[in-house]
């Protein structure tokens, strides 16, 4: 199963109510959690020691969207101001497979940062941070 952006519905769940994003450019997820190997400098051991790093850093979801509606702006502004916990979702319409950022917080105030005549000026970038980023495959 590979998520394809043209198959997916995106949105945000705030206090049990869903708000869909109609125009999503992409989703970028940064997950700093890693399993790493190390060993002593004498380099005799070929198995090494395993450890995990990046556990205290949150996962970052970046979602630039186009055409933020007034309703969504109000909801997101309130979520930003009140640091409301939200769930961000990306769900494949064909089989229900999902990627979700649960108990996330909105990092920046969502706003249109450029006003000019290019299509890029329609972008509103949203960044979320979460410690619970899930991916569920149904096929």
């Amino acid at each position: 199963m590979i998520f394809k952006i043209y198959n997916c519905d995106f949105g945000i769940k705030v206090s049990g109510t869903n708000y869909n994003f109609d125009h999503v450019m992409e989703v970028q997820i940064e997950d700093p959690e890693k399993n790493r190997l190390t060993r002593g400098s004498n380099a005799t051991n070929k198995t090494g020691l395993v450890y995990k790093e990046g556990l205290k850093e949150p996962k970052k979801w970046s979602i630039p969207i186009l055409n933020m509606s007034a309703e969504l702006k109000l909801v997101l502004d309130a979520a930003y101001d009140e640091q409301t916990r939200v769930d961000v979702y990306c769900i494949d319409r064909t089989d229900g497979s999902s990627k979700m950022a649960k108990n996330a917080v909105l990092c920046n105030r969502p706003q249109q940062l450029t006003v000019d005549e290019s299509t890029e000026s329609m972008n509103v970038s949203m960044e979320f941070e979460t410690f619970e980023s899930t991916e569920q495959h149904k096929s």
Binding site: K13, G16, N18, I91, G96
Partner: protein, 311 residues
């Protein structure tokens, strides 16, 4: 009739359904013999010991208040064969029915008919053989007692568990008011093997609840399971009524996530160890299939240890 506003600007509203009440899970019904002149068959909510005393001479019920409960449903009955009719329609008032010592073992085995009631029924007796059989019945708590103490310890143990408004605890080794004549290890083991609840009497630590079980499971198991059912039903209803979802796989995934949150809450409270939910659109319309797997709530009562001594 004011019609202009609605003619000019009709507004429809969508209100999510509020969460379901689970308060009845902490409520108990005590079945007792009526006092003279008290009509049997009517359930009365008593908020004090004197309220109970007005209905019955039974003293077991007082232990519920001693354990911390502030209100108790009391049902005076002449015989247990009338129980089903008396509690019909009250399924959402309480989840525990305690049979007081006013009724003999033969009344329970011969006449007890709880109808559609699916909650926990507690019985106490001095006959351990009878209790062993009762303890094997689903959602049945069988409590060892003595003829002098009657069912007082059982009422106290349930009172302690149900008076905790926040959590579900198995009440391991709490202090109990009365000794029920279980003071040898052999007695304890025999009752434990049959999963009969009992109070042990220890010369150093006093009267302690030695086991509190229900149908061979942890006493909290049926309560947590019912609590979870209600919370999941309520979460799904709130989601559907608030979001008015279409019949799509996306909505099934979102609903599944809402239900998984309920299970995650129960896991974080350590009421269950783990659980999964899957919502699938297997029908053509209107109905989704929900597959819910949870681990059974369990209780740790004993440790069998071994020490190996090295030279």
């Amino acid at each position: 009739m004011n019609i202009l506003l609605d003619y000019f600007f009709p507004i429809s509203s969508i209100n999510p359904t509020p969460a379901a009440s689970t308060a009845f899970l902490k409520q108990v019904l005590a079945v007792v013999a009526p006092k003279d002149a008290v009509p049997p068959g009517t359930i009365t909510l008593c908020t004090s010991q004197s309220g109970v005393a007005a209905l019955t001479d039974n003293l077991d019920v007082q232990q519920l208040f001693s354990a911390g409960m502030s209100r108790v449903y009391v049902l005076p009955l002449d015989g247990l064969d009338d129980l089903a009719a008396a509690i019909e329609g009250h399924e959402s008032d309480f989840f525990t029915v305690l049979i007081s010592s006013d009724f003999a073992d033969a009344d329970v085995t011969g006449d007890l008919d709880a109808g559609d009631f699916t909650g926990v029924i507690g019985v106490a007796s001095t006959d351990d053989t009878y209790l062993g059989l009762q303890a094997a019945i689903e959602n049945r708590a069988a409590f060892h007692s003595t003829s002098g103490n009657k069912a007082k310890n059982m009422f106290y143990a349930f009172g302690k568990m149900l008076s905790n408004a926040l959590s579900w605890g198995n009440q391991q080794y709490i202090t109990m008011p009365l000794a029920d004549d279980v003071s040898t290890l052999g007695d304890c083991n025999a009752l434990f093997d049959d999963k009969v609840s009992f109070v042990l009497d220890d010369s150093e630590f006093g009267k302690r609840l030695g086991l509190f079980a229900c149908g061979g499971k942890a006493i909290v198991a049926p309560y947590i399971k019912r609590n979870l059912e209600l919370d999941m039903q309520s979460a799904a209803l709130t989601y559907v009524s608030g979001n008015q979802p279409a019949y799509t796989k996306v909505q099934a995934a979102l609903l599944e996530d809402e239900l998984q949150k309920v299970i995650a809450l129960y896991v974080s409270r350590q009421w269950i160890e783990q659980g999964t939910v899957e919502v699938l659109l297997e029908q053509e319309n209107f109905i989704a299939s929900g597959y819910i797997n949870i681990s059974e709530p369990k209780a740790l009562w004993r440790i069998f240890g071994e020490i190996r001594q090295t030279l």
